[in-house]
Symmetry: D2
Subunit: 272 residues, 4 copies
């Protein structure tokens, strides 16, 4: 394989902080929030709910608020996100709740601006091998979570991470979000073998996005359990005040009640 | 979908007993044993170890001893199993340990003989759509566990189970054993979304074979945790006294120490 | 890879005759006929049409009549074939038209009987690794065409062929029939790279079933052109007097008009 | 499907010119040239050879010279292309040979510059859903060839094309370049059913890149034959003066002799 710094033998396991949240440590990270930041009110509402359940009630320390400003939609006619102004709303909501925040960036021309608002960035599956974007993010230096493309091999993914590492960025984590496999009942599949495999091969933290593989709300709690049981360093999970009204990913976002119950169940199983 | 009796809405969830083990109930079933029954001594040794760990130490009631007599090997030059005589060894080992036993059958001409020795049969992935075999097994009437082919859709799998149900056999369970996906570090992938999906769609119990997806011993404990966390009704897991000397599946069978530790860990996580 | 006699370096390219048809020679073989043999009349009608177009009009010498007696259907409630009596009808129709005949066999218990009626047998995709069947066919000694399972690797396919070769049967050919890939508009995909690859790796003739990959009648002529252009040793193609009334594969069988036009077009392109 | 202008029923089949080459017409387009533009000399040499064989000898009118300036490499340590200066070399080579030229663009910040040098642009598989790039290209208005990602569905591909069409660009064509399937002997698979399917579903021209699916030089002539036989509107094909010394794609580029022979064979088969 033609990557180096991403490999386990090239150095210590990568650990880094996003605000107060430790990524790659013993305790899992929970990255939660809506698919898209639809309004100031909704992101405040969700941020408060997440803080209440995860920090106040369950006492978790590694919590990050997520929200999309620019959305990589399959169709040009779907909602594309509120762009830069949504980042202000995200920042304020995070500050008020005392949570670090992260967003997705797709365009290298937006990267600097986005980085000025958030504590970390993620690169979505569809841009995993968008090398100009990766180079720009390495230059900027904020922590980056890199999702695996749904058609990419593990090596292609690690080599994409290597663009970040070779560019001088050390704070890099991986997010598995499901691949295209043989499954006519879900949008994608979640190959759970990937979690322990990546831990064997790479020194980068490996998280699982449990909302996108199935694209079905009812499966999310089960995937969350499986991901942590398989040893993932954390979860990314979509939650929306009223999922049925969501402007994107309406079928896969949890409502606050289901989100809380899922998290409490993970605690009962000692997975969190 | 052109199957009926396998679907959830067609009746109550299927539960049945294999000897004293309840399949499809609240408590998971553990089907453990060697890939191939290599000698009377090895199957006795393994049966005793399984009984000691699972029954005596952990107090499990749903335990079944597995062992292969006819092996579906990729190459004709690989060990093909000891055939009928191995079934005698399996029966004796099970009786001595007080465990029900099951074996794989590939040839409809062997089915009656095999059924006379064991408490249940399984159909391997490669014969999932071997309809003459399925019809013969429905006629014989012993419980059947049907593995999913690594290239089959969920509907094709349920329709294959329907051959058993339509033939009058009610005691049918499903085993996911991994599919062919994008994963260059494992022999197959384990799409964990399949477990909750099958529970939504079908009334048949769904177990996971955690030895075959990865084909790697080091991943088995993680897959076992993920499978039960995702809600599987049980596990099939290969264990061999000395895996490195095994005549088949040498790389994926656990040794007794790793097997015991895996089971104890599942107990600590309250998954067992 | 753990197969030997199937490999190119292990001997001369395999060529054999099925009746008067040469398989593996310079001129492609056309294996045509209905999915299922539905009645004596329909198979006679189709046999006459095939003979008229391919032999009389186009002057082809390598023509074989196909027809299914036992059908490997996904659902137990679909038409399963007329069984042994259909073989009589097939034999008579072939004899009358002066064409050799072949059928599919799934059950080792039927193999001897089937072989007594036909000039060659094929093993369907779903039974590619049905090793008891393969062993039985090797013992019987009639030519066998082995289809690739839609989830199998090329090596698994060649190793399955090796069960025939290792059992003493030299008259073995391969049929690619489409694999499961990323294609929401067709039942399966046709990876056309497989044709030249198999010719590089193996000494067995490689044909393409152009009816099953897409499962769509309108694509069949294009796949037939592509398969021969890619160097295939022949085609298997389904044709039915009135496809819309067919008891199986209604959507993919050509009617006599479309079949004739497809064959004439292959001739115009000098592919036939 | 949530795309409109890409669909067949939304208007006439798309045809457009790149320089003198007609894309989407009756006669296929040949897009040929090296993977990377490695030096002024090499691109001049290749341009002259292509002109001599395709235009002078075979009399083709629809010929475009391709060459990469920015390369989307899996690893950051592989040659990444000579960038903008290579576009000058490409332009000069094209002008001298009287051929229109095209290159790949990955970064929206490079798009304007690239467009100022070439007659058309292509978007590589890895950037198929790089929507900021697609929007920028629609704004610029030069013809765009959009490759299918190796993990994308056909609908995802058409929806990506829709970003171009919805942005006001009408001169859009599609290039199939192979998908990830079950094939351990080639880097990717070429699902040939896609060609006639896209012609049924969409009004956009569909070409096939015959160098990338297999990633093996010896298969390229066979894939070229199959692609045109299946009805493709043209080919993209890599050719290099001395492939073994190439800085990228060394194993899949044809040398001038093999390229010429492949083209002449297509002519003999009346596919060109």
């Amino acid at each position: 394989m033609d990557c180096r710094k991403a490999l386990r033998e090239s150095g210590d396991p990568v650990r880094f902080r996003v605000g107060g949240a430790l990524v790659g440590g013993e305790e899992p990270v929970i990255i939660a929030g809506p698919c898209s930041i639809e309004s100031p009110e909704m992101i405040h509402e969700i941020a408060g709910m997440i803080k209440k359940v995860l920090v106040d009630e369950l006492g978790l320390r590694n919590v990050i608020l997520r929200g999309g400003a620019w959305k990589p939609r399959t169709s040009p006619y779907s909602f594309q996100g509120h762009g830069a102004k949504a980042l202000e709303w995200l920042r304020e909501a995070g500050d008020e709740a005392g949570l670090p925040v992260m967003t997705e960036v797709m365009d290298p021309r937006d990267a600097e601006l986005a980085a000025s608002y958030v504590d970390a960035l993620w690169v979505g599956a569809r841009n995993m091998q968008n090398t100009p974007l990766l180079r720009e993010l390495a230059r900027i230096g904020k922590p980056v979570f890199l999702k695996r493309h749904f058609g990419a091999t593990i090596n292609e993914w690690l080599c994409a991470a290597e663009y970040l590492l070779a560019g001088g960025l050390e704070e890099v984590a991986l997010i598995e979000r499901g691949t295209r496999c043989i499954n006519e009942y879900a949008r994608f599949s979640l190959d759970i073998t990937v979690v322990p495999i990546v831990k064997t091969v790479s020194r980068l933290p490996i998280l699982v996005d449990v909302s996108h593989p199935a694209g079905r709300r009812d499966l999310v709690p089960w995937l969350a359990r499986a991901a942590l049981a398989a040893g993932a360093h954390g979860l990314m999970i979509e939650v929306h005040p009223r999922p049925d009204e969501a402007l994107s990913d309406a079928r896969q976002q949890l409502d606050p009640g289901a989100f809380s119950e899922t998290m409490r169940e993970l605690r009962r199983m000692k997975l969190l």
